[in-house]
Symmetry: C2
Subunit: 126 residues, 2 copies
């Protein structure tokens, strides 16, 4: 049976208030502020569990560690800036991806990532 522990609450809370997907290390840093001494292994254990429970969503980008965000937000996708590596949420989803699959295939889910330069880095590089 599942216990309510300070660690679990600190991790859930840090994920809940995050404005963007967090890597395990980022999550550890944030949750540690509320609960010093928290271990990275505990973060991973809860990420695994929350994922199994469907309470969070993994955001996987090429060449980057996985990031996690709380489930239940409006459906959206992500943009990663190749210069600053920050990941931004995108408000819209074009939808209608079912028609891309061969006939007979069942599309249950999809992932879309955009990559490029964010407004800040685009300015800086000019």
């Amino acid at each position: 049976m599942e216990r309510r522990t300070r660690q679990r609450e600190a991790i859930r809370q840090a994920l809940a208030v995050a404005d963007r997907p967090l890597s395990p290390q980022e999550l550890l840093a944030r949750a540690s502020r509320a609960l010093p001494g928290l271990g990275i292994a505990t973060v991973y254990r809860h990420l695994t569990r929350l994922d199994r429970e469907g309470a969070l969503r993994a955001v996987v980008l090429p060449g980057e560690p996985s990031r996690y965000e709380i489930a239940g937000k409006d459906h959206h996708h992500h943009f990663r800036c190749r210069a600053c590596t920050a990941v931004f949420e995108l408000p819209h989803c074009p939808g209608d991806f079912e028609r891309l699959a061969p006939s007979g295939f069942l599309v249950e889910n999809h992932e879309l990532f955009l990559m490029g330069l964010c407004a800040g880095c685009r300015d800086g590089q000019r």
Copy 2:
């Protein structure tokens, strides 16, 4: 300056004839058939380099090791079946993703994955 070596050719060739994206280990296994003794470090070095040259494309799926495929195929995306884990190429791309990004952002690239059940697994589960 860049040399033409047996290793480089074996790796390029294995990628070129692959029918699906290959992980570094799969690529090593295939290229080793043409050139026994090939080392995994060399595979990684060439993957890095080919990627920099734009000669290949990384295919990253949540929870799976990165795979690589030769560039220059028609632009396409992938479908992964959650039952048999096979990855299929999709012929079309809806395109026009630039409008999804916030203004000021530069979209250079995008990735789209569909997930669900392929025709075979859908039949089998019925």
